[in-house]
Symmetry: C2
Subunit: 332 residues, 2 copies
Amino acid sequence: MPATRSSDPVALFEAARSGDQAALARLLSMVERGGSPSRAVAGLAFKAPGDAYTVGVTGAPGSGKSTLTDRLITLVRQVGLEGGDRVAVLAVDPSSPYSGGAILGDRVRMPSHALDDHVFIRSMATRGHLGGLSVAVPDAVRVLSAVGIPVVLVETVGVGQQEVEVAAATDTTVVVVNPGWGDAIQANKAGLLEIADVFVINKADRPGARTTRRDLELMLDLTDLGEWRPSIVETVASTGEGVETLWTTIAEHRDHQIEQGTLQPMRQHRLEREFHQIVVARVGKRIDTLTGQGRFADITTAMLEGELDPYEAAERVVSEVLSDGAVPPSDG
Amino acid sequence: MPATRSSDPVALFEAARSGDQAALARLLSMVERGGSPSRAVAGLAFKAPGDAYTVGVTGAPGSGKSTLTDRLITLVRQVGLEGGDRVAVLAVDPSSPYSGGAILGDRVRMPSHALDDHVFIRSMATRGHLGGLSVAVPDAVRVLSAVGIPVVLVETVGVGQQEVEVAAATDTTVVVVNPGWGDAIQANKAGLLEIADVFVINKADRPGARTTRRDLELMLDLTDLGEWRPSIVETVASTGEGVETLWTTIAEHRDHQIEQGTLQPMRQHRLEREFHQIVVARVGKRIDTLTGQGRFADITTAMLEGELDPYEAAERVVSEVLSDGAVPPSDG
């Protein structure tokens, strides 16, 4: 197929829209690797946004996220959502050194969908992408949305800070915990409580599910919640039990946001955050370049000789680098 | 004890230098929480640096890092290092929401040293510290060094990107793996190969230690190494086997760096990186403030209305924020 070998984003988008998985994979590789091809792809996706609903799935390693995601795919393929019945999964793995078109590897992850060309599964690492995961993943999601996929699941491999942020940057965030002493507390410690729209107690056939539910309810009671109180769903992903209820609950959260008129404002808010991260990454890169050119050599030397501490040195650089209107007043 | 209740950094430093653990804990709490007290403490530590030798200990959860660190403490207390026989451990846990003076909790972590007042153990989270772990941990290490502690062990809880960076920012970085298929490869994937000065195969009494050693040697053969080829040490932390050899190997790496004259340049290089991170964090914070003041409202609106993609919008903000000399030329 010629489109796949092309590196023309417009041609690749066209092919991907009509279902060419290899073209889509190619677009995502471009996003992942960063640089100007990534910008071109991201720009095109932004201007033809589509309307994917995004669901984040996060939780500790071993909690059964992948199996749950696998079950959700099957269900979405059956019940669909307005806009079609394609589903995409982005499996976010910041520590993976692999990048680029590992379609086969990604399909092997979830063998039950290997032959279904309405399912697109993709692992994502982001070495090299300026701004990291928090910029690359939204770009990738927009690409998937732009080619007409109505449901995008974003699954994180671990619960590192970056991964939690990425999972939170979706329309509905599902936090997976397991029964057992302290699991709810661990989730809270990892910052998962505040991002959850839906809690899943997976492996709910094991002892302790009731206690875990009570712990979660208690923690929610102690939290200053908004309009939506996170639901708690019990599942056994290995058998599929409860997965239908989970999907219904996700749909309820979606309907709630649409009724309350919060979906678009939330998306805009996320876009603003993303934009802020791009700005900071670019400024950081510019400072790197200037440093490499020896621009702050005198300040650095003063610091290395112990005359300025790193904070004093940083203050000087900041006032050299920022334009007058952006420098904080000296008492600020 | 009056010094402990004081919030005067100078008094706290004086007390901590003469062995007051509570005063030292207080200083570290101040560093951890960020803000201007943190700056005052960091500035004082920077100007009276001390000469602690720092050892990073990292590896996957469950690899036995804590037990190994525990054993290293016992050994260092016996054999010492020039500069005294105090030892400090910073256990870096980015996901922990706890901060501030949890001395008791920290001592319970390693009960065998609970009564030894020459051992200082501290968990460290950094919510609220501008610049995050990569700035807070070096500040904390400098405080420990400034009060005269000659050996500081920095142990990470996981292998998230931030934690790997923090473990790498020490004089000798120890990477802990376990016997078994693929563990060395996992370590490589997590970016641990490139930061290791010493590899520990812990739980070396289990099957597969020889294979793991061979995997590591092979990966080292394939890597472009500097003057120091990372050593591989086998330990059984639970019994203490091999821990003496590990300490000897750490000391060899230290001697190597002193002989080659690389120790000070490496420390300076790390200080420059830290400084860079402070600069970027401050600029980011400034941009936040300006955004909050509505400074970029027109650009943001254009983006939200789809006229500018986030990259185009970011470019405009960057050229507004950076002073003329810092703005990249338009073709760059």
